[in-house]
């Protein structure tokens, strides 16, 4: 049976009609046109569908849309301010961390959750934080460098 639900995505509230079996990923992509989150494996292994739910990275392919009501959802589209990229996005560009790009939205969101909680992560902590975001181009090194650089830039910006 279809039902009307209300979701808060990137600070905006949307009313959408879903079935119980509709995943958050399907709503984001099909109903809201937010195609940054990707369907990779669809089984919770690859992390391409990662979004932030109340600040924590989760898998939108394994989350029923009806159960995402009342939560703050952030997708990659919610990071830039107008045409100004988020520092993590800038760092990914600058360090050549993007190859095919399929894993990048999820990886950046995992990185954002890390830096929000732990602004000075070690390299090990960065690797752990993105361990649930598989990159088939195997471009991990530059991504790790980009995340560490973004953390450093944020620190320098504060001084």
């Amino acid at each position: 049976m279809k039902r009307l639900i209300s979701l808060t995505v990137n600070g905006e509230t949307h009313e959408v009609v879903v079935e119980p079996r509709t995943t958050l990923l399907e709503v984001l992509r099909d109903s809201l046109g937010l195609t940054g989150a990707k369907e990779g494996c669809s089984l919770g292994n690859c992390g391409a569908c990662t979004v932030l739910l109340d600040g924590r990275p989760v898998l939108s392919c394994l989350l029923l849309a009806v159960e995402a009501q009342g939560k703050e959802i952030v997708t990659i589209e919610g990071l830039a301010e107008g045409s100004k990229l988020h520092p993590l996005q800038e760092a990914f560009v600058e360090h050549g961390a993007v190859q095919c790009g399929f894993c990048i939205p999820g990886m950046i969101l995992s990185a954002k959750a890390l830096l929000d909680e732990n602004p000075h992560p070690t390299e090990e902590e960065v690797k752990e934080a993105i361990s649930g975001n598989l990159c088939r181009c195997t471009g991990y090194s530059n991504a790790v460098r980009a995340i560490l650089a973004a953390a450093k830039a944020k620190e320098e910006g504060k001084r």
Binding site: E39, S42, G44, G47, L63
Partner: protein, 299 residues
């Protein structure tokens, strides 16, 4: 338009979000085997997408906030059915007093899976390779199963009937897991080897808890539990018995490792899994025993 162009969509089901525990039991009783409880969803929804499960009714329990707790009263650690694996791994009481459980929770899945999946869900999924179970077995955990008729405490050791099967009856749900404080002069470890897959599923998992006598010369008691090497996680009791009352040395550890390996019943890659079992048992016991001896030095 939904479902269009997706590799894997969920099958249809009816969804309930009970607001009280009583409502959850009555739904469970009404729909019996046709219903499944949904907490984190990281096992159940995957099984449904793969077509391995097709419940007609899903009972989502995320609104039952009274099940989201980690409480410690100095004797008993109680973890509610909605506590995520990450919240258990991060809880300071778990890290300080139940370190091997924190280690095991951190081993499960990926950060995203740990943010969604629950400890109780990991137990109830009852897979042979559930990482959290060996640590809980050596700690002597019990699960609280509740139904409209009341509740019972089930020792985790007798909770599993077979792979992906528990002794829970229709209408029963696990609301919490209870873990007693480890005895004084004890130390535990969880160690594992994984397959090389997307989420590095455990190939052999070993939890140990060793208790020293007050002089730290002999092993007073020892518990060893294994996962991924038999239809269900289990305690290697013959191996445990070898340690009781003994001073620990290399020769004894080798015998204990070998005995634990003999107690396994691996389905695939049996020889390799047995070899890993004996090595990991020795490694975990050595580390645990060393950390105890270390305490002796500092205290």
């Amino acid at each position: 338009m939904e479902g269009l162009g997706y590799l894997l969509a969920l099958p249809r089901f009816e969804y309930f979000s009970p607001k009280t525990l009583e409502e959850a039991w009555s739904l469970l009783e009404r729909y019996g085997r046709e219903a499944e409880l949904l907490a984190g969803g990281t096992d159940l929804l995957v099984a449904m997408k793969k077509g391995k499960k097709s419940p007609r009714y899903l009972i989502g329990i995320k609104s039952l906030s009274e099940l989201d707790f980690i409480e410690y009263d100095g004797e008993l650690l109680r973890i509610g059915a909605l506590a995520t694996l990450q919240s258990v791994a991060d809880a300071s009481v778990v890290q300080e007093r139940f370190g091997l459980l924190a280690t095991a929770c951190r081993k499960v899945g990926t950060p995203q899976v740990r943010n969604m999946g629950t400890l109780v869900g990991n137990i109830c999924n009852a897979g042979p390779s559930q990482d959290t179970v060996p640590s809980l077995l050596v700690l002597g955990a019990k699960v609280k199963a509740v139904s409209s008729k009341g509740y019972r405490l089930i020792p985790l050791e007798s909770f599993f009937r077979g792979p992906f099967e528990t002794v829970l009856e229709d209408g029963e749900m696990v609301t919490e897991v209870q873990i007693p404080t480890p005895p004084p002069h004890s130390a535990g470890r969880y160690r594992w080897m994984t397959k090389r897959t997307t989420v590095d599923e455990t190939l052999v998992g070993v939890a140990v808890l060793v208790v020293a006598d007050p002089t730290y010369e002999r092993c007073e008691d020892a518990r060893i539990a294994l996962c991924s090497v038999a239809p269900t996680p289990f305690r290697a009791k013959r191996a445990e018995a070898l340690l009781r009352g003994k001073g620990i040395d290399e020769g004894l550890l080798e015998e204990v490792g070998r005995t634990a390996a003999e107690e396994t019943r691996p389905r695939g890659r049996a020889e390799y899994r047995k070899l890993l079992t004996s090595l990991l048992v020795r490694k975990a016991l050595t580390e645990a025993w060393k950390s105890l001896k270390g305490q002796e030095v500092v205290s």
